[in-house]
């Protein structure tokens, strides 16, 4: 299996134009912005990139466009989560053919799968490709479906390309249990923080971070990441607290909040697709005033 250390992973939004189509020209600018502002890899389209609101054809076209635009500047990781195992596996095959550096998948949508079903699902996806395969543990987004350390141990035994876990459970008990074993069972196994709360995962042994907030605050994100990788964990606390505040402000509105904040920063990527609604005026006003209260945001780039 090719070795891939994704490091600091930006997760771009998907810009839409007024007619609801993907605004590819804006997307190209956005990808360039991420590369120029600290990304070591890109993962797309993640949930924050509205993967579930894209058609199968759009998803494939988007990935191909991104890989062509990025070229060999940095690796592009393809998010292939789906409800049906075969549909996800087909996306994984496509990702490899399109030139992605790795695939990522979370638990199947809607179903409430027991562990045996999760194993089957992940094996179907992982076995469809020779690329490194990262599993995304996001119980809050996935209505409680969570990855356990036992499940990872079993997948390590069964899937030679299972390369690491992207954690959005934020659960210290799980992360520590995982890292006690997994890197011994699979040398090079990586724990990647699923969001910009990296200090605790870094202490536990995480080597990477997914960063949707890089669309707003790429400098803060990079500073946090660099301090964590240098194991300057006490020093990382100030920027960590500012990013936690930013995350809390954005989280209320989800994708709509992030896109609204991007507009404030001079990087308009339109509104989310249905069924997600744009922020209402009151929420927008609150978001803007919360952003003003985050001191370090003053030093972040405006515009493209």
């Amino acid at each position: 299996m090719p070795v891939l250390t994704p490091g600091l992973v930006h997760t771009p939004v998907t810009p839409f134009s007024h007619d609801g189509g993907i605004a590819l020209e804006v997307y190209g600018k956005l990808l360039d912005f991420h590369v120029a502002n600290g990304a070591q890899s890109l993962a797309l389209p993640m949930h924050i990139g509205e993967s579930v609101s894209l058609t199968d054809g759009e998803r494939r076209a988007l990935l191909e466009f991104a890989i062509a635009r990025i070229g060999d500047r940095i690796p592009v990781l393809a998010h292939v989560s789906e409800s049906g195992s075969a549909i996800a596996a087909a996306l994984a095959r496509h990702a490899e053919k399109a030139g992605a550096a790795a695939v990522i998948a979370t638990t199947p949508y809607y179903w409430t799968p027991p562990a045996t079903m999760l194993i089957e699902h992940f094996i179907a996806i992982g076995a469809a490709t020779a690329l490194p395969f990262f599993i995304y543990n996001a119980p809050e987004e996935m209505r409680g479906a969570r990855i356990t350390a036992d499940l990872c141990r079993e997948l390590i035994a069964k899937l030679p390309n299972f390369a690491g876990l992207v954690d959005l459970s934020l659960d210290w008990q799980f992360m520590i249990e995982l890292m006690t074993d997994a890197p011994r069972l699979r040398p090079g196994f990586q724990l990647i923080s699923g969001t910009e709360l990296m200090v605790s995962p870094a202490a536990i042994g995480a080597t990477g971070m997914f960063a949707p907030l890089a669309a707003i605050a790429p400098r803060m994100v990079r500073e946090l990441y660099d301090l964590c990788r240098a194991e300057k964990l006490f020093e990382a606390r100030t920027v960590q607290e500012q990013l936690a505040a930013l995350r809390q402000s954005i989280k209320l509105g989800g994708v709509a909040g992030l896109k609204a904040a991007m507009r404030v920063m001079g990087r308009d990527c339109g509104e989310p697709r249905a069924p997600v609604l744009a922020l209402e005026a009151v929420s927008l006003q609150r978001l803007v005033s919360e952003l003003e209260a985050i001191a370090l945001l003053r030093f972040e780039p405006r515009g493209w």
Partner: protein, 296 residues
Amino acid sequence: MQSPVTPFTDDFSLDLPTFERLLDFHVRTGATAISWPHHKGESLSLTIAERKLFAEAAVRVVNGRIPVTIHVSALAVEDTMELARHAQKIGADGILAITPYFWTPSLPAIEAYFVRLCSAIELPVLSYNSPSYLAGVEITGALMSRLIERLPNFAGVKEASFNSEKFLEISRAALSSRPDFALLTGVEYLLPSIPLGGVGSYSAAGSICPNLCSQLYHACMQADWPRARELQYKVSWLWLLFRDQYPSSLKGGMVMMGRPVGPTRPPLPTASKQRQSHIRSELERLGIFDSEPHGW
């Protein structure tokens, strides 16, 4: 900080001589404070009279060598109030109280509860946040700030979410209002919490491996992260071993360490011989018998 288990004789009555020995063991092996009776001390399986009796014993035996706090959470809030006043009367250094059990109280109800408790005594009050055991009931960051502003003796939190986002929400709110507010984790999750402003933890495994617990704490405070990581993995493995029907497996492990403390009161089971031997083999695998004290 150590929270001793509660020793019982074979007929499930309180075993005072063993409790005294255990308190002394914790003080001698590096505990920085004693807190009793946590859920690990089977607080909810003790009568109020029994809790008062052993609280008095704890204060008497520790005798000012390190601080003693009393956990006062009870099913009835009136009992909690009584235990808090009692703790103050006997000379304890503080109390600890969880959000009320059973009722899934609203945020205003939690606020009213801590206001009443903190106003009834002058001792420092540590709150206890454990949403995963209490159906999501939790002290939010905003509520933490309000309580700190209203109550001069609202001094800290035992945080048992073990979750990056929840810890940061509380630490950001609390430390900006009161920089010396004590952020403690429920069991020894020191590695992920100390870089974010945590100052310590209560201990699950301290009656088994006090040396390991102290080493982990010091490695974190000295920012020796590679060593802290190795120690944290080991301590957390023990937590997973003991978490199941806590504290019966822990009491089973104490037998293996030469510090028997008797059975666990029902409805919790007492660790069977088979469970004890499983624990023994795990302790052997982790090298605990070589590095930790045996007997009292």
